[in-house]
């Protein structure tokens, strides 16, 4: 048992650190959920991609470095330590790309992955529906088979980045005779296709971080079905595991925030707030170490499985605690918008997205602890 990096891993870390320190913008970019900020973040993705830092874990032929999982976690740690911008391409590169690698055809990989790696094409999830949130399997949007493809109809909502993004991906009911998890198909479609209406929704911070999508006879060719028709739930659940688990929120960002919290405490110490400061740091440190256990397990051929739910509850509540503590330290100044208020508002969404923490606790209780299912539906 050890926590030591190999010489190659240390060299990788040094290279990442040096590049980031020379290239991370000195001033924060405007919010990625504004028109200007979206473009600025796309440009940043291009810069990362030109130096092959945008998708380090992907194979080299698609713009990556073939980095190991250990190296990816190292990169993430360096990325957030350097104060680099949020990833506007995140839903594509972390959530959709693993599906395309596992289930996509060679043609789909060639068409979709390179422009995703450069940030030229930004992807948005189209999962939730007005009546299908936590109960995703109750979704009602349909796909009807026609000559050469499918017609999509229905309404999707809470679609992150969709206000400015180029492509959507999500589940549609392709077999009307089925219910729940069966008869669903995974589709990729352009957000500017005929029949798609995007209605941006302002989030708590006033910016259009997500959108509603209305689909009215949107034609999608067979070539843009991901996985087999009818197999969408199984395909999508591999995304869900990724989203809750390591890939969406690596420890790097929380450790970086914990360090900034310590800086804040050091600059204006308040002994009454020492306990929450220590506890927030401790929880980030626990996540950092926990992740090396996860990485070891995955590298040994294991599967995260339901442990992704353990993970998700932890980091989402940690993020809220880090920011609440910082705002407490700021006293009356806390009300004035700052990177801490931005981070705080963002952190509030964590316990909701990617499966609410209530759903995660059900999964932990049923799949890890083996408690009986509660009657549903």
């Amino acid at each position: 048992m050890n926590l030591d990096f190999s010489p190659d891993e240390l060299a990788f870390r040094d290279e990442a650190r040096a590049w980031l320190s020379a290239n991370v913008p000195a001033e924060p970019l405007p919010s990625m959920d504004t028109a200007d900020g979206f473009v600025a973040h796309q440009q940043w993705e291009r810069r990362l991609a030109d130096a092959r830092w945008s998708v380090v874990s992907w194979p080299e032929e698609f713009g990556g470095r073939g980095a190991s999982l250990v190296e990816w976690v190292i990169f993430e740690e360096e990325y957030y330590r350097a104060g680099a911008p949020g990833r506007v391409s995140q839903n594509g590169i972390f959530l959709l790309a693993p599906i395309i690698f596992d289930h996509g055809t060679g043609d789909q990989q060639q068409r979709w992955l390179p422009s995703m790696a450069t940030g030229e094409t930004i992807w948005a999830q189209a999962w939730s529906e007005p009546e299908a949130g936590s109960d995703l399997a109750s979704l009602r949007s349909t796909a009807t088979q026609v000559d050469g493809g499918w017609l999509l109809n229905g309404q999707k909502t809470w679609s992150s980045r969709a206000a400015y993004a180029h492509q959507g991906f999500g589940l549609f009911r392709s077999d009307p005779s089925t219910e729940r998890h069966r008869g669903l198909t995974y589709f990729c479609f352009p957000l500017d296709a005929d029949g798609v209406t995007v209605r941006p929704i302002a989030q708590l911070d006033g910016e259009a971080g997500f959108a509603e999508l209305f689909l009215d006879d949107v034609f999608v060719p067979d070539a843009d079905v991901l996985g087999e028709p009818g197999d969408g739930w199984r395909v999508a659940m591999s995304t869900a595991g990724n989203e809750r688990g390591l890939s969406l929120r690596s420890p790097g960002r929380f450790c970086a925030t914990a360090d900034r919290l310590l800086d804040l405490y050091a600059s204006q110490p308040d002994p009454a707030l020492a306990p929450p400061v220590v506890d927030a740091w401790l929880r980030a440190e626990a996540y950092r170490l926990y992740t090396w256990g996860t990485v070891t397990q995955l590298a040994g051929g294991g599967d995260i499985g339901a442990a992704g739910s353990v993970n998700k509850v932890w980091w989402s509540e940690l993020d809220v605690a880090l920011h609440e503590t910082a705002l407490d330290l700021l006293g009356a100044e806390a009300e004035v918008t700052s990177s801490w208020t931005d981070g705080y508002l963002f952190s509030l969404s964590g316990p909701i997205y990617a499966g609410t923490n209530e759903i995660q606790r059900n999964i932990v209780a049923e799949r890890i602890l083996g408690l009986p299912r509660e009657a549903r539906g």
Binding site: M1, N2, L3, D4, F5, S6, E9, V70, L262, D263, Y265, A266, A274, P275, V277, V278, D279, W281, L282, R283, E285, A286, Y287, L289, Y290, W292, G293, V295, T296, Q297, G300, A307, V310, V313, W314, E358, Q360, R361, N362, V364, A365, E366, I368, L369, G370, L371, P372, R373, E374, A375
Partner: protein
């Protein structure tokens, strides 16, 4: 980078656990609390035969953690932390593998069965004589006042303290895991309103919180075992104490009134967890130590 027990370490964990599962440590715990040391001393000898009393000097802190997690899981009585973690490092010239010793911090736990008693006075180790009994909230920890005598030559007391803190953290982790396992088993078989109570979300979510808290305590304990520092062991004990306390509170709540009885074995762990929270540094002490260390390292 391989952050998991080696095959050899997993094998050691299994052998300690097997030994304790085959014995009846809960009966030994109850007898110990009542002043009958015989079953507990038998358990002590068998664990000593397995090498537990020589881990602090002969093995790594990882093996120490493995043993103490098992001690916590089985509520084993005896001055284990004192005799097998703290004193072997505090007294490198004294062979403690074949005897039992304890140290007052401020009370000497299980001094009535210790061959030797020490006291920590102003950062120095002294010989000590056992005084009056003091009742612990956990009756299986028999506390005594001491009268300090001559100062003794000692080793690195900070290193000894850190290993004791780590051992306490591992013991808390084991106790928390046991309470969770027993609580999960209970809510699966206990029926109310015609259903197993473990099917209710109100119960499930509390137990899920315990699973999550313990899952994040373990890497802090094992990480501290790989690099024993004031920072790492304080972090480990803080999270392990929090997680074990949550396990105890939730465990009691889901058991209901039966869990509140002395007769039910859950009581062994509820009381042990409470006692260990303040032994070898309260959470307030460890928080202050951790914060000072973090700020100094900036």
């Amino acid at each position: 980078m391989k952050f998991t027990l080696t095959d050899e370490q997993s094998g050691f964990a299994r052998s300690v656990d097997d030994l304790l599962s085959r014995a009846d440590p809960v009966a030994a715990n109850r007898a110990w609390a009542a002043g009958d040391h015989e079953p507990g001393l038998k358990l002590w000898s068998r664990l000593a035969d397995l090498g537990v009393t020589s881990l602090a000097t002969e093995a790594t802190p990882v093996e120490v953690c493995i043993a103490f997690e098992a001690i916590g899981r089985h509520a084993v009585p005896g001055p284990w932390i004192e005799s097998a973690a703290y004193l072997p490092l505090a007294l490198p010239d004294v062979d403690l593998t074949q005897s039992r010793a304890t140290v007052a911090t401020p009370y000497a736990v299980d001094a009535d069965t210790a061959d030797t008693v020490y006291a920590l006075v102003d950062g120095e180790l002294h010989e000590a004589v056992r005084g009056d009994p003091v009742t612990s909230v956990d009756p299986s920890r028999r506390l005594f006042t001491v009268t300090a005598g001559d100062r003794v030559d000692h080793g690195d007391l900070d290193a000894a303290f850190n290993l004791a803190v780590l051992a306490a953290a591992a013991e808390l982790l084991g106790a928390g895991e046991r309470v969770l396992a027993d609580s999960v088993a209970y809510v699966k078989q206990r029926t109310q309103f015609g259903r197993a109570i473990g099917s209710y979300q109100a119960i499930k979510h509390q137990l899920a919180n315990v699973r999550i808290a313990l899952d994040f305590a373990r890497p802090l304990v094992l990480g501290a075992a790989l690099e024993v520092t004031p920072r790492s062991v304080s972090a480990a004990k803080l999270q392990a104490a929090d997680a074990a306390n949550l396990a105890a509170r939730v465990g009691l709540q889901v058991h209901g009134a039966i869990g509140y009885t002395e007769e039910h074995d859950l009581s062994r762990w509820l009381l042990r967890v409470r006692a260990l929270q303040s032994a070898w540094g309260t959470s307030t002490f460890h928080r202050e130590r951790l914060l000072a260390d973090l700020l100094a390292a900036r």
